[in-house]
Amino acid sequence: MTFELPSSRSSDLWQPNRQMSKLSEGAAKFIFTLFALVSVATTLGIILTLIFETIEFFQVVPLWQFLTEDRWTPLFADAHFGIFVLVSATLLTSMIAMLVAAPIGLLAAIFLSEYASPKLRQFLKPILEVLAGVPSVVYGYFALLFVTPLLQQFIPDLQGFNGLSAGLVLGVSIIPLIASLSEDAIYAVPRSLRDGVYALGGTKRESITSVVLPAALSGIVASLILAVSRAIGETMIVTLAAGQNPTLGFNPLVPIETMTAYIVQVSLGDTPAGSIAYKTIFAVGMTLFLITLTLNIFSFWFVRRFREKYE
């Protein structure tokens, strides 16, 4: 379509190329849609990769053996595949980590949101961000070469590799996650609720424990679940500090091997593709993926189910 403009005006001044605009609009939309699909492809890739290799693994090792055996020795001639040996180690380190991180992270969040002056907040938040950005290999160094020797002075039975110091440092590494997510949830509770408690004669602590925390509960629980999921998937701290010795049980003083540490151990060795040892890392990865996925879905569900909405 062309428009006849009055000849007295110069129509050369502004002639947008609409054809071109439409074309670039379409091209941009198309390319960006493809980019958005990359994330879907990643998820599919992860699931398919894990499923294919895991199916091949279970053709050799029956599922009941995987779930019931009490030894994990896939690299030995006398091979046993009891996944619970690795799962117990992962549970142990994650539990110790949460015992450290949940109270400290939550109290730190309360302090930042309720007690800290704006100036102090501006000073503390970047520190937590730095703590969150420290690479896990650095935490691993800290756990193995600082925390373990330190603890050995108090606990003589503590071995060089152990679940205790790995769990403690793992806890330190997830404090920032709990603190910042919980703080967002606590900060979002409207001021009027706090004022209500004061009007009833409550103290600041009472306003926090009886009103603010229950109101922020969904966000706090979600942050704790995400922290558990992060602790379970963490690799380098537990590989370096907890050892590579698959032991069933929950003794925090002896070397153990978590699921992630096992994957690293096999990856560093010279394991030919297609061998049963190679397939075990995908079966272990599948277990890890299912556990963290369940936790993440549960956390989303919890937020949706229990979120308090305020105007």
Binding site: T42, L107, L240
Partner: protein
Amino acid sequence: MTVQDSKKSLFINPLPNSDMFTANLPQRYRLDRLFVLCCQVAIALSVLALAVLMYDFLVDGLPRLNWQFISSFPSRKAASAGIAPALVGTIWMLVVVALVAFPVGIGAGIYLEEFAGDSWFSRIIEVNINNLAGVPSIIYGLLGLQIFVRGMEPITGGRSVLSGGLILSLLVLPIIIVTTREALRAVSDSIRQAGAALGATQWQVVREQILPIAVPGILTGTILALARAIGETAPLVVIGALTFVPYLPTNLQSPFTVLPIQIYNWISRPQPAFHDNAAAGIIVLMLVLLSMNATAIYFRNKFQKMRA
């Protein structure tokens, strides 16, 4: 004083049974102070942890840190070993991730925020991105091992710079997408409406008006994502980055190592001299990360000022 006191007693006395309601303020205030103390201890412990962590590797590593350490190749002798290939490998990773993850992540963010609207399709992608952000990084390593290292070996060259860069790009993609969306959402709608009223297409409005305003916010998130990528160890160990590389990677298909893997390798050796090397390597890694963090914070402050 006396008047006030009598008023107080007047106010309390009418209650028939004063045991039923005792304010017991001293006790409650004591609990309050205890509670504040707990909170202060918690935050102090977090700060202390960071301080002790830094003190630990600074004391161990600083004596070892010199130009020889930065420019040397790894060696069986701790005193002559260095991080040159690891540092160069980390820079390669930085470049690959920046070239791959920035455009893809920002593009996906623009699509979801500006073009997609609220369809079932965009909601699936959104849920999917949230889930991806919770997948442990070592799982990405398994994906990379199967797809990039084995499946696409003719293109990537197997356990190469390209495979490593691609897997780290996928790993940080959710972070970049989410921060891009937040930065775009913060731009006022009136600008979009004004653009549309002037006859601009959606893409023209995004390109000419929205993006320039959102750029500092996007940069903050992408730099933090980049920092996350170069601190990662686990996925690169899984795809088989080498622990002993006596040469510099020359192209995208070269085998490679990165700083965190070199550090990991030194920590896991029994000799204490190598542990000091690891500490010195950590100092270099942390310097790189902290300077990236500082850049990100600079852009964030700039962004917040622009919006204000």
